[in-house]
Symmetry: C2
Subunit: 339 residues, 2 copies
Amino acid sequence: MLGVIMDAPGEIRVDERENPTIEEPTDAIIKIAATCVCGSDLWPYRGIEDVDHAPMGHEYVGTVTEVGDQASTVKVGDFVVGSFFASDNTCEICRAGYQSRCVHAEPMGAIGTQAEYARVPHADGTLVATPGQPDADLIPSLLAASDVLGTGWFGAVAAEVGPGKTAAVVGDGAVGLLAVLAAQRLGADRIIAMSRHADRQALAREFGATDIVTERGDEGVARIKELTDGLGAHSVIEAVGTQESMMQAIRSARPGGHVGYVGVSHDVELPGMELFFSEIHLHGGPAPVRRFLPELIDLIWKREIDPGKVFDLTLPLDRAAEGYRAMDERRAIKALLSV
Amino acid sequence: MLGVIMDAPGEIRVDERENPTIEEPTDAIIKIAATCVCGSDLWPYRGIEDVDHAPMGHEYVGTVTEVGDQASTVKVGDFVVGSFFASDNTCEICRAGYQSRCVHAEPMGAIGTQAEYARVPHADGTLVATPGQPDADLIPSLLAASDVLGTGWFGAVAAEVGPGKTAAVVGDGAVGLLAVLAAQRLGADRIIAMSRHADRQALAREFGATDIVTERGDEGVARIKELTDGLGAHSVIEAVGTQESMMQAIRSARPGGHVGYVGVSHDVELPGMELFFSEIHLHGGPAPVRRFLPELIDLIWKREIDPGKVFDLTLPLDRAAEGYRAMDERRAIKALLSV
């Protein structure tokens, strides 16, 4: 089968990879319908994380073609959505809603879903079947649920967004934009998107942003304070992962407020004394997307949300390199790879 | 009046200070009945924080002797308990339960309550009157409510301690010990106190600890994991404030678990990547003790809790220097200064 391989930073190759097979009786094999390039794929692409001939991709939707002997709820022919962490969904951590930290968690990124097929461990726990075969126009949104929507949603839940509250979102990538959508669905009174890009601002407005702040860093914080009676936002979602964005998020929240952070931290060191006196709640990490999948699939199926709009570039799998390049150069928010 | 002054690290003097007067119409003056030395007073005592001829003390109970024109709920003759931050208790931040970050917050430490009298700003918001004149044996417990009990309680609430959960407490000072008591009252199934000192272990047991862990650092974390099916505690209360204790707390919590940290952070830098993948909730800061005072006073008044047991040394105010020395040398958990 064809699959995407990153040989080294900046070097994307679409080449033959061995077809996956059932390795554990709880596995399933899926034929991937669509996959995509993640903002986190850009860390190794830009040389900020090490990479050496690695299969790429951890977002996926597709059709089950084979199941192991112990996979009982997932059936051949099901159209399924899964998260970027395979999880058994039965352990104590999963039952508490933290499937991304399942005691048997396996990162799908190590398997590489930018490919024609993929092996999915813990198939019963990991995969959620759609109510039927989806119309083609639903595929991008279902694919978004696999990571960026689920991650933005978790960010908003971690930031305790809700009615009567002002939410601010740091980061205007796909996750940040979908955190805006999540905040809108979770009932925030006011949603402040922090973005400098006209196209992303427009999509943020479409997803429910009521205010746009173009300033960053201390100036961005000052603007958020101005918009919130000097107090700061109740809920701040951080969707970048740098020192600047984390501090911007922490400083934008009011005392007692909540910061939900979902940007994968890189070279971040949080100053203890400032964090202590900020008196905020801080929660985040790799999103337990599996927790939210049934609800998100339902909302998409009923066409109540259209998170697939974050895909502003669609390419066939064999042109994956163009997708990486476009995202790296910020010409695209997110690239869908059709298989 | 007499008051405690720290001239320089390690140098405690009890000397004449000017009697306080009403400065704002919302002030009250109280005649202090008892005050005490806080673990946080040891930071400057040890030279870790700067200090220069500073009045000391921020914990207090006593009797109102004078009120400003705009103090309407507090009356002369009331026996009152207040927190280490004066707060109006009416602003949006106070109403959300974060009185220590009141928009008009004033640190009582700058006023210095290790003295015969003290001015209390925002008296109506800050002070809570007891139901009547307390019996002498209740004074230590009411004084504990002023800070260490309220702080330990906040730590346990921030760590979301509750029924069905295992709580672990890092730190066996007065705050840590009272976090054990709080965890017991909040219904934790299991409470693990981390302590190496036999006398403190005994008090932790008396306050409700079910297990004692004497190891620290990585070994302490490993012991907590052993006691919790390899997962970590649901709730961890951090009551020290060092890099080691913070990391011990974070690493002792399970994914999705809660760390409540109330030790004043000193030279702490939290590594972003580890925090991200720990997937914990982190909340803390200067405790909004005022939030809990009515409930804590009620529990003390009914003799349902006896937090005053943390005072294992009682001295008259003019011997304050001995109290500092005993706590610095860990010969005393906490020194009460009777006035």
